[in-house]
Assembly symmetry: C2
Homo-oligomer: 348 residues x 2
DNA sequence: TTGAAAGCGCTAACAG
DNA sequence: CTGTTAGCGCTTTCAA
């Protein structure tokens, strides 16, 4: 026997009004905190509402109020634990502020743009882009649609877009100094996706530190912020004649891949034969099996900044774009050779 | 100088109509594939729409059409990579079918219920629950609201709810047989969250295999499907006088924690001194550092089944609840001692 | 305090 | 083929 799951329309404010013997506007008022309505009337309405399991239709409300309490979030790749964690925190934070998340992952094409069109039609009040892929059209569309856009963990030349990022350049530089102090011979960089600001800024900082010490990068491969690609890149790297003994990876996810490649495929002892450093300080980095030295991003703080700035953008019409940089710091574990005792990273 | 980001209302079909010198309904028709409208009129409308960057308001459309093309997904914990991966696939699949995801993570309380109320107000056409926490109220609310509910990777006694799960009992049994064939001495189970069907069914299968062989479980701890908790549980486990040499963990995430605890805190060689097996076959399980033997869940297939059954529930009013079981299989790696050559798991 | 009525942006039924 | 009109379910004037 088929069990009835749907069927019958959901009750409306009119149904409640009829049952309670009041006007429909009374129903609306009864459910609006602070509206002027007598306790008796409210009581009657509430009872009827309860009985019908009435739930106000937020879509109808949005139409009138001119705001949907919906926020679009474009996020990828979920393979990197950084993003799911970010999503979880954003979801809770926005929920606390009365907003809900319209989630969209860029499809197989990797391009979030087509989905954006549809998300904008849902009248999202803001869009948060936390995806390694970023097309300039994305920004333009949001601007044209007059929907505030917040870039999370990435930047763009487009100065008018609000961004929340980590200390990418400083992080790269700090790691460079750290590895230099550890007396390494040959330095390598494993880039993320080339077009991303994160990968570029981290690389620039790293190169700057090397340059200041009169050294330079001897190896450079591309790992696309992806485990499999980083694994492949590492095989190239460690097969080189002048095998590097200090490898900085643009994020932890790739660093973990490189680390395991060094160990399992080349029998290199990580932290002794080769030093490997990452960026992000995801939960995995602290696992006993890895003990990855990395530059941390304060994810909860970063998420909170995203939430704060997004709400501010929604509430005010014209706002100076913000470029928020969330501080991080070097987290020293055992995946890289240690500098002499007493060493500390230079400031700024 | 403040850059104008918002301000000015978004253009409506009326604005487009005025600019194109046509009626508002002509605008609607021009944008509706298959509507009867002349090419010239459509052309005029399209041009005006383009010029104003017009985007139809889907909220208004939903109000009329009586469906929102919105699907609510409750998911947690994102710490376990199983879920983000699932989310990504679901998002793409539903997008292809013209639906969008309203995402909600249960708040700090761990209880998805309060959020559900709000999500239902957004007129989601279905709700997918993929969260380890599950209260019976959740099911009841969806039923009362006449919104189809699909449980993903969990079940309930409530027979009227559609579920998509893996072969939990078979998986547990297979792993039991596998460990028995590996001639182990003492068997342990690391449970997930006690109330979950997944943890219970996997345990039952495991115990059944042991019982059939005239053996029994000698240790049982609870890891709450959580890395930290599993780590703590493992410390208890390996500190026992009669230390187990075969440990089945209710999921991979916990198995990885237990594995590392064995290695790093007790110096036990995994796969020799102690065998550890998980469940799910998440990407991490195949990493060189782990090589975890586990029972796979076919995540993409599982996601597709969830999508299919959800769409079916949305489209038809009354539907027999489905209990879909997606097949998985034992994936043998090196974290557990191997049975004698030629061993295969029993069928069914 | 209450109800009647207008209208948010759109689709669809109805005339023309 | 096209425009006019009536709502979708709600909030918010406006009178009473």
């Amino acid at each position: 026997m088929p069990v009835k799951i749907k069927g019958g329309k959901r009750p409306t404010a009119y149904d409640v009004a009829r049952l309670a013997g009041v006007s429909q506007s009374a129903v609306s008022r009864a459910l609006t905190p602070g509206a002027s309505i007598s306790p008796e009337l409210r009581e009657k309405v509430m009872e009827a509402a309860q009985q019908l399991a009435y739930r106000p239709n937020l879509l109808a409300r949005s139409l009138i109020k001119q705001h949907s309490r919906l926020i679009g979030i474009a996020m990828a790749p979920m393979e990197n634990p950084f993003y799911p964690t970010m999503l979880e925190i954003l979801s809770e934070g926005f929920a606390a502020a009365g907003y809900r998340i319209l989630f969209f992952a860029p499809g197989p094409s990797g391009d979030p743009d087509p989905a954006l069109d549809e998300v904008l039609r849902f009248q999202v009040e803001a869009v948060i882009l936390a995806s390694t892929r970023l097309t300039s059209q994305f920004i333009e569309k949001c601007t044209r649609a007059r929907v505030p856009l917040v870039l999370c963990n990435r930047r763009t030349d487009h100065k008018a877009v609000t961004t929340v990022t980590g200390q990418n350049a400083l992080g790269g530089r700090t790691i460079g100094e750290f590895l230099l102090a550890g007396s390494h011979r040959s330095f390598a960089y494993v880039a993320g996706i080339e077009e991303t600001s994160t990968s570029r800024e981290r690389e620039q900082g790293f190169r700057q530190a090397l340059r200041r010490a009169g050294r330079k990068l001897s190896h450079r491969v591309v790992g696309h912020y992806d485990f499999a690609a980083a694994h492949a890149a590492a095989r190239t790297l460690f097969s080189a004649r002048d095998r590097p003994d200090a490898v900085f990876c643009a994020n932890d996810q790739m660093a973990l891949a490189v680390m395991q490649t060094a160990q399992s495929y080349f029998g290199l002892e990580v932290g002794r034969a080769v030093s490997i450093v990452g960026f992000d300080n995801i939960a995995l980095a602290s696992w006993p099996a890895f003990q990855l030295t990395t530059f941390s991003q304060q994810l909860p703080l970063m998420a909170q900044r995203v939430i704060d700035v997004t709400l501010k953008l929604i509430e005010s019409d014209a706002v100076e774009p913000v470029h928020d940089i969330v501080p991080g710091k070097l987290v020293v574990r055992t995946s890289a050779r240690l500098p002499p005792e007493g060493w500390t990273p230079s400031k700024a």
